[in-house]
């Protein structure tokens, strides 16, 4: 059609401009070289390999569980940051802010539901991903270390979920964390000092809420990002995803 030809021509013209070419270096991805550059030369994508085995792309090979875990983490980060606009990590503001988010803030209840849902889903996805990788032998050499990184990511995920659990400051949160931190004090020798550091005191109060907030929003997400990057990087370097031979 004439209009699409015109649009097409305009786009091509735009692509030739100096400004465009200063930002997008590689040109349209129509040759294998430019397709490679789309991954290799891209800040966000260059941790992916340039080529993958066709077998690893089928849904049944991995159920895309690893990707799903990562996407859930992205959803949690975005919804979490937005929730931070209204949440004060203080007693008793925290609970009041939860009520605010649910009843007063536009789409607040939706955002909070999404955040909590994605959190539960992420724990589930991460566990399922681990079991699935195990059952298809994705931990065997040369992927041993990546498995260990994965276990580390599992711990970070659980700890993220646990620190986030306290933040609403309701009965559910308070007592779940009471039980958990009391278990920590059973660790021999270091148990009580670790509990003291974690809570910033002897009781679950102002200091504990603030520390859990910092852990939940800064320390653990940074750790997660670092480990995720390493996890993806190792897959690329170790030769791609593992697919069971009896599949397809």
């Amino acid at each position: 059609m004439a209009t699409t030809d015109w649009t097409h021509l305009r786009l091509e013209h735009l692509r030739q401009t100096r400004v465009w070419r200063s930002i997008f270096r590689r040109g349209p991805a129509r040759t294998n070289r430019t397709r490679s550059l789309a991954v290799f030369g891209n800040l966000g994508l260059h941790m992916m390999p340039v080529k993958v085995r066709e077998k690893s792309l089928s849904v049944r090979a991995t159920y895309y569980l690893g990707s799903i875990s990562f996407f859930l983490f992205a959803v949690l980060t975005i919804t979490g940051v937005l929730l931070m606009f209204y949440y004060h990590p203080a007693v008793p503001d925290a609970y009041r802010d939860m009520k605010d988010l649910i009843y007063a803030v536009s789409n607040g209840v939706f955002l909070r539901n999404l955040h909590r849902l994605a959190a539960q889903a992420m724990v589930l996805a991460v566990f399922w991903h681990m079991f699935h990788v195990f059952y298809r032998g994705g931990y065997k050499p040369p992927h041993e270390f990546n498995w260990v990184v994965g276990v580390g990511l599992l711990m970070v995920t659980l700890f993220l979920s646990y620190t986030g659990y306290l933040l609403p400051w309701d009965q559910l949160a308070f007592w779940a964390i009471t039980v958990g931190t009391n278990i920590i004090s059973y660790v021999p020798v270091l148990g009580r000092p670790i509990r003291f550091l974690l809570l910033g005191g002897h009781i679950i109060g102002q200091n504990a809420l603030l520390r859990f907030y910092v852990l939940h929003c800064v320390i653990l997400p940074l750790g997660a990002v670092g480990l995720i990057a390493l996890h993806f990087w190792r897959i690329q370097k170790d030769g791609g995803l593992t697919v069971r031979d009896d599949h397809e």
């Binding site: 007592w175 009471t178 039980v179 009391n182 003291f196 005191g201 002897h202 009781i203 102002q206």
Partner: protein
């Protein structure tokens, strides 16, 4: 030649430490000390010296406020004040299993924990449930003006009874 044992080690025998090795070791040691120091300082920073928590030593009225053979729950401090004909003692109301707050059940003469079903006698001894230790006794003394003073940071033996 086969059969001849050669002494292992560098050609110049003895412990010749080169200047490079020396400086490397000094640098490594310095970095280690700096690292350890940084870690210790950070942990000390994270350990609060001033706590904004309710005071752990408190006054609990006079012994006359507590009838003989009674168990009184002080809600703000999570402490039971028990008085028998032999005297008084202060019991922690925090279950020794995982930290839930227990409840005094006069109808069964027991202190019960709602979390996992632990049951304690008024002496603090465990009667049932997964609690690993008896409820600790806190130091209970009489001040000069005849008031009961409880110190929650000082745990005393369960044989110590304040005679009133």
């Amino acid at each position: 030649m086969p059969g001849e044992l050669k002494a292992p080690g560098k050609p110049e025998e003895k412990n010749t430490v080169t200047r490079r090795d020396f400086f490397n070791e000094i640098a490594g040691g310095a970095l280690t000390i700096a690292g350890l120091g940084a870690a210790v300082v950070t942990v000390k920073y994270a350990s609060p010296n001033v706590l904004f928590e309710p005071p752990t030593t408190f006054r609990a009225g006079s012994p006359d406020d507590y009838p003989v053979n009674s168990v009184t729950y002080l809600q703000d401090q999570q402490v039971y004040l028990v008085r028998t004909d032999k005297g008084m003692w202060a019991l922690s109301a925090v279950c020794t299993h995982l930290g839930c707050i227990t409840q005094w059940k006069p109808e069964s003469d027991q202190i019960a924990c709602p979390c996992h079903g632990s049951k304690f006698q008024r002496t603090g001894n465990v009667q049932a449930g997964p609690a690993p230790r008896p409820l600790p006794h806190f130091s209970l003394v009489l001040s000069e003006d005849g008031a009961l003073v409880v110190d929650k940071l000082e745990v005393v033996k369960d044989t110590e009874i304040l005679k009133v």
